[in-house]
């Protein structure tokens, strides 16, 4: 017996699936084109943006200072009885993002390879400490003292990160 039944079972499958896919594409496509017609004029003048958050430090030294400034603020926000809320959540988010920019800003500086790697290693330690004390899965209470030695480590690198002429 040839596998007729096997084939006939799928007889309607291709047509139904094609119809479904075309419907999906048509619906999404129509939405897109309608939207694009509407915004056509705006798009012509739309600025092609690379989003740079306002709290992004300008350079490596600035990053170190930002971290040093923000740790006491986090301490205040983490005190029992502190209001917390959106402000604290934003501060935490920004602090975490600043830590994440360590490799990029260290690379965008005069730091040599060994110092860059030291900065990245310290950044990784900061990530770990952040996760332990401030992250959603925190296992320890926040203590500014655990961050400070790491920020001191980074601060030692700050002079080397500046442009050659500024170092002199």
């Amino acid at each position: 017996m040839p596998p007729v039944s096997n084939i006939s079972r799928f007889n309607r499958l291709p047509v139904s699936c094609v119809a479904l896919i075309f419907c999906a594409l048509a619906i999404s496509g129509c939405g897109s084109s309608a939207e694009s017609h509407e915004d056509e004029h705006d798009h012509e003048h739309e600025h092609l943006e690379h989003f740079v958050p306002a709290h992004k430090p300008k350079h490596f030294s600035d990053l170190v200072e930002q971290l040093a400034l923000r740790v006491p603020q986090l301490q205040d926000g983490s005190q029992p009885g502190a209001s917390g809320g959106n402000g604290h959540a934003t501060a935490l988010q920004e602090f975490s993002e600043i830590i994440g920019w360590i490799p990029k800003l260290a690379a965008d500086s005069e730091l040599l390879k060994a110092d860059f790697e030291s900065a990245v290693a310290t950044g990784n330690k900061l990530v770990a400490v952040y996760a332990e004390t401030l992250g959603p899965q925190k296992t320890k209470p926040f203590d500014a003292a655990t961050f400070e030695p790491l920020i001191v480590e980074l601060r030692k690198l700050a002079p080397k990160s500046q442009d050659r002429k500024d170092q002199m």
Binding site: C17, P53, A107
Partner: protein, 513 residues
């Protein structure tokens, strides 16, 4: 308007044809090797026909051979003649064009190289699942096995490969190849310039779906697809859309689709397409979030698809013919024309054979086996399949060796970068956007070659070096935008910044490697 569309079609068609030519030539060579060195029986064995490993073998062979989705067409037609099942053929057709050694290495310069490895693994999942289901639904998809005549050994065997390639180049393969190129031409005719810059942003949940609609007529060489992926990662666009672009943009084209429907009919062809699109879309949405680059600030646009839109926008100062000529002169390197002439020569040979030898007398003579003339103990007749395997392995080795030429040593890259840097920065100073874009793209390309060239020679590349190159690329991208906006003050600052980054890059790759 109609004139702009015509020249848009012509430009995109020609550029794609020129870029595709080396891969198409490889495709014809592979098809001829399968025909004359392997023969149908050995070709079936090579692809594991009838065994459980058939799909995996097709995927591996596809991954190793340097073909594109157009170059795959003569190969899949040869596989079909050899009596291989549809699932295996289509597995090769889908995986062959995705990667080759050059493009895989280029992928290493992406912000998330793991994404490329994941994409490769996903492509195996796709061809295996689609192939298994399709073969199960249509177990009788292979053509009946036919007897074939072996070719005589010696120079006749070599000549037979050449004639097979030439005849194939004037067969239906050429029609499917031109159809594939027409797809990208039509996009260039109808899609307004730069109109796809915002369609594939990371926050657009429909981006993979839009890409599915667009990627089939798109034709991209493995290298082009990889560089587009690079741009999408650099802009943190939709990763799902990037995946669809790789699988369908590089792996599919209108020619393959037409072949699929022609060979297997509407129902089987549609079933394949439905299975493929469903699985590709499912995987695209699956990888969209996990592979999203975490250390990149997302941009609200991408330039990866500018090359599929109309190449001309706004009023031109010259005729469209002149503008097209100028664009081709700028976009195509002189050495890139040679494979096109070789492809033309192959077609011409095929035409001559068709006209002068309609009854295939030449083939009959080639197939007439002479008596074995062994002159001594060391004189042996090498079996065709061994020669075939050596030829295919030679192609793979050649493409690996070619990596060292394509990705020169860091010193050479830094030297070659000078022209591009001077061109980009001086164009930026005069706020000439077209020139800045042109040179910045070349500068960007050299930073990637620098990374891969260093990795190839040292077998490692630190994050320090990768960051130096990546920063420079990011700054070039911003420079291009600032020039477009005419922000002179920002441009001046960026030029100083890029010069500093270049000095640091040079130091990193010459003194700290």
């Amino acid at each position: 308007m109609a004139e702009m569309m015509f020249w848009g079609f012509a430009t995109r068609f020609l550029v794609s044809l020129i870029q595709a030519s080396p891969f198409i030539l490889v495709g014809f060579a592979v098809a001829a090797v399968l025909r004359r060195f392997f023969g149908y029986e050995e070709t079936r064995k090579l692809f594991g026909e009838g065994t459980r490993s058939a799909l995996f073998r097709a995927w591996v062979i596809g991954m190793l051979l340097p073909v594109c989705s157009l170059g795959a067409i003569p190969v899949i037609r040869e596989m079909r003649r050899a009596g291989i099942r549809g699932g295996t053929i289509l597995a090769f057709a889908m995986s062959g064009p995705l990667f080759n050694p050059l493009s895989l290495l280029y992928g290493l310069t992406l912000s998330e190289p793991i994404a490329i490895l994941s994409f490769a693994a996903c492509s195996l999942v796709i061809v295996t699942i689609v192939g298994l289901i399709w073969d199960r639904m249509f177990p009788d998809s292979a053509l009946p096995i036919v007897e074939e005549k072996a070719v005589a050994y010696g120079y006749r065997r070599m000549l037979a490969v050449g004639t097979a390639a030439a005849r194939e180049a004037t067969s239906a393969s050429l029609f499917y190849i031109l159809l594939g190129l027409a797809g990208v031409g039509l996009l260039g005719a109808f899609i307004p310039a730069n109109s796809l810059q915002h369609t594939f942003n990371h926050d657009n949940p429909l981006a993979p779906l839009y890409m599915t609609g667009m990627a089939i007529p798109v034709y991209a060489t493995p290298m082009l697809a990889m560089s587009q992926l690079g741009m999408m990662f650099q802009h943190a666009n939709s990763i799902g859309a990037a995946f669809v672009l790789l699988v369908l943009g590089a792996g599919m084209n209108l020619g393959i689709m037409a072949w699929l429907y022609r060979e297997y009919g509407f129902k089987r062809g549609t079933t394949w397409m439905v299975l493929l699109l469903s699985i590709v879309l499912g995987l695209a949405y699956g990888v969209d979030q996990p592979l999203f680059p975490k250390d990149i600030e997302p941009a609200n646009h991408t330039h990866a698809f500018d090359i599929y839109c109309q190449p001309f926008s706004g009023p031109l100062t010259t005729s469209y013919f002149e503008a097209t000529k100028l664009k081709l002169q700028r976009d195509i390197n002189p050495f890139e024309w040679r494979p096109l002439w070789m492809f033309g020569l192959l077609i011409l040979s095929g035409v001559v054979l068709k006209v002068a030898d309609r009854s295939s007398t030449l083939e009959r003579w080639l197939e007439a086996a002479p008596a074995k003339q062994i002159s001594g103990r060391g004189d042996i007749v090498v079996p065709g399949p061994i020669l075939g395997l050596l030829s295919l392995a030679g192609l793979v080795v050649l493409s690996v060796v070619g990596c060292f030429a394509y990705y020169p040593a860091p010193d050479e890259c830094l030297e070659a970068m000078t022209d591009a840097r001077v061109g980009a920065l001086s164009a930026a100073l005069s706020l000439d956007h077209t020139e800045t874009k042109y040179w910045a793209e070349r500068y960007d390309d050299w930073t990637r070659k620098l990374e891969v060239g260093a990795w190839l020679r040292k077998r490692e590349l630190s994050d320090y070096h990768r960051w130096k190159a990546r920063l420079l690329r990011e700054q070039l991208e911003i420079l291009e935008h600032e020039v477009e906006e005419g922000e002179r003050e920002e441009v001046t600052k960026l030029i100083a910044k890029i010069s500093r980054s270049q000095a640091r890059l040079r130091r990193a790759f010459t003194e700290e490697l």
